[in-house]
């Protein structure tokens, strides 16, 4: 009898402790989420405000810090899309697309080949070449601006898209080459050796075996390149002089300093449109994006 009494007591005690653990867990989760939510809100608020404000009237924008428009209007979008130039904003999106497409595809192909060479082959002066890749990585961009400008001017490429994508399509972005080399080094060579025994040559091995294994890193390379190009302001500013060739980043600036006299709702509306592709692509591919970034450093 005494025994069963003790047993029951222990059980009751355990139940009480379990209940307490659940309660503590609940409180800690609540605190954690409230904290995360509030910090997240602080960080995201400018973006939320931007979207909200793009539907406001010009006078309402500066009336308060709230993001909900009192009388939502599409005026900013309609007028902003038309722009003060002979072209609509669609033209500028198309220009951006014409730069981004060859640049991203070219980067993916050229950087993969360069990285494959560095990671898998022995060739004369390999070390010196690789050191120069790293050196380029460390070089500030501004240093190369003037020599590059002079070079492209002499090639007659000014006011064309060529200076904006050709260097990248020739593995000119050392960061991507480096990232892919690191990723490749972490991949076992056995599959490539198996492919060689199966009769594949170097190019076939690259295309059929290495590229599929490299996919996560390659996707983040493309994403990075897409976003950086979409956001690039200085490049187009330096090389493009005709308005009909402007990409969105320049076009956005255009609406600030011309006749509109600060029609803020148009500017904000076009800003929302400008960041939309990047946001869509990022959310669609964020899994690969994160995988690619972490794999470069952590794997192997």
């Amino acid at each position: 009898m005494a025994n069963s009494q003790t047993l029951t007591d222990t059980q009751v005690l355990e139940d009480v402790q379990a209940a307490r653990r659940v309660k503590i867990g609940l409180i800690s989760a609540t605190v954690r989420y409230v904290l995360l939510f509030s910090v997240g809100l602080v960080m995201l608020y400018p973006l939320i405000w931007l979207i909200g404000a793009s539907f406001k009237t010009n006078s309402e924008i500066f009336a308060g810090a709230g993001f909900l428009p009192e009388s939502p209007t599409l005026d900013g979008y309609i007028k902003g899309w038309q722009t003060s130039t002979p072209y609509t904003f669609g033209r500028f999106f198309w220009n951006s697309f014409l730069i981004i497409l060859p640049k991203v595809i070219g980067t993916a192909i050229s950087c993969t080949m360069a990285a494959y060479a560095f990671a898998r082959f022995e060739f004369p002066l390999k070390k010196i070449f690789f050191v120069s890749v790293i050196a380029i990585l460390l070089l500030p961009n501004v240093v190369t601006r003037i020599p590059q400008y002079i070079l492209f001017r002499d090639l007659g490429w000014l006011d064309s898209f060529l200076p904006l994508w050709v260097p990248s399509a020739m593995a000119g972005d050392a960061f991507f080459v480096f990232m892919l080399v690191q990723f490749l080094r972490s991949l076992p060579r056995d599959m490539e050796e198996a492919a060689r025994v199966d009769g594949a040559n170097s190019l076939q091995t690259l295309v059929y075996i290495v590229v599929p294994m490299l996919a996560p890193a390659l996707i983040s390379v493309c994403l990075f390149q897409f976003m950086w190009t979409m956001n690039d302001f200085l490049g187009p500013l330096i090389y493009l002089s005709s308005v009909d060739k402007y990409p969105v980043s320049l076009a956005l600036k255009l609406s600030i300093d011309t006749t509109e006299a600060f029609e803020w709702n148009r500017i904000l509306a076009m800003s929302v449109l400008t960041i939309t592709p990047a946001l869509i692509v990022f959310f669609a591919a964020q899994r690969y994006f994160i995988e690619g970034i972490s794999a470069g450093g952590v794997k192997g």
Partner: protein
């Protein structure tokens, strides 16, 4: 027909000589096992045959062709890797088909070949799975299939079973040996070079075994020959479980002197000796060291007995030298717990090695040359 010949094959990495000009002749259809401790360059040798490693010196011939400068795909070889090396993004079917696709074979032929190989290896139900959905044994069978489907002249295996658990390893061993026999019976080219560090694999699978150490060949012989007539101290110590007892001592007439003990060898042992070494090593396998009651025998102190079921491993101490003897459980019972035991080596199974160069000097003339 694919006889594989290695002639004065050398591999040098910077200042390190990994393979020291080895000669090896592998007959058509032979199952040759390269065995040795890790770092003995057995895998390097195999990879040179495969063409995955460049050759520093010497020559490799497959069939009548000198293949030194041929890429792996043109050597008519297939290789099975230790960690399977299946293409992770392709299904099993794609893995099997890859080599044939690269070779530009027609679709129908590839499908038929996959069917056939899948049936032999019992992987028909796995064809539409990805490698990550396979168990170790299944993955190794697929890797085997990928080699088989190419109908190569030479199969190369690089420690294919070392990632599998003991039970699976035993069954795969039988499967590979049977497959080799089957290919041979069908008249297909079936020369095999099999690298392993596991002497059980070597002993059970090989037609002949090539024992390597530090980039040199120690002995090439059939498993039986290796076990019964090791050419040198290294092979004697490497092959056999438990290891051969190797006792330092000296030869004096027909007696072998170990510390204060003398063991009469008898004329039939001394007459076998090709030379008379000053410093010698007596080698005898634990299985050939029996418990006796009277001389001639070595007296040792029993330090430990390991009961293995039908037999007992006796660990004894002979004036500071370790000795192991394998006796039957009955014999061990009969000992009755006495500490001092007498062990007599079987004179027919006893080896004398020259300590200065490690050579077995007690082999009969003909064997010494082999």
């Amino acid at each position: 027909m694919a006889r594989v010949q290695l002639k004065k094959l050398e591999k040098v990495y910077g200042s390190f000589k990994a393979v020291h000009g080895i000669d090896l002749d592998i007959e058509d259809g032979e199952f040759m096992v390269l065995v040795g401790p890790s770092g003995c360059a057995k895998s390097t040798t195999l990879r040179m045959v495969a063409g995955l490693e460049e050759i520093t010196g010497g020559e490799i011939q497959i069939g009548e062709r000198r293949v030194n400068d041929l890429p792996p795909g043109k050597r008519s070889i297939a290789m099975v890797f230790q960690n399977y090396a299946l293409y992770p993004h392709m299904k099993v079917r794609g893995n099997l088909a890859f080599g044939l696709k690269i070779a530009g074979r027609p679709r129908a032929e590839i499908d038929a070949a996959i069917e056939q190989v899948a049936k032999i290896l019992e992987i028909e139900t796995l064809l539409d799975r990805l490698p990550k959905q396979l168990s170790g044994g299944q993955a190794q069978r697929v890797a085997l299939g990928r080699a088989l489907i190419k109908k190569p002249e030479v199969f190369l295996f690089d420690e294919p079973l070392s990632n599998l658990d003991a039970k699976l390893r035993a069954s795969m061993r039988v499967r590979i040996t049977e497959l080799h026999r089957r290919l041979k019976a069908e008249g297909l080219s079936s020369t095999v070079i099999y690298v392993t560090h596991d002497q059980i694999e070597a002993m059970t699978m090989g037609d002949r075994i090539c024992v390597m150490q530090a980039g040199e060949i120690m002995q090439v012989a059939t498993p039986k020959e290796l076990y019964n007539h090791p050419a040198n101290l290294f092979v004697a110590g490497f092959i056999g479980t438990p290891e051969m007892n190797l006792l330092d001592g000296a030869l004096e007439g027909e007696e072998f002197v170990i510390g204060s003990q003398r063991l009469a060898l008898g004329a039939h042992v001394t007459s076998r000796l090709s030379t008379l070494p000053g410093q010698a090593v007596l080698g005898v396998r634990p299985q050939h060291l029996s418990l006796v009651r009277e001389a001639p025998a070595l007296t040792a102190r029993l330090s430990n007995a390991e009961f293995m079921g039908h037999e007992v491993y006796l660990h004894a101490d002979l004036e500071g030298r370790k000795l192991v003897s394998v006796v039957s459980a009955g014999e061990f019972e009969a000992l009755g717990g006495s500490e001092l035991i007498r062990l007599r080596p079987d004179p027919a199974m006893l080896h004398i090695f020259d300590k200065s160069n490690g050579r077995n000097v007690s082999l009969l003339g003909g064997r010494l040359a082999a």
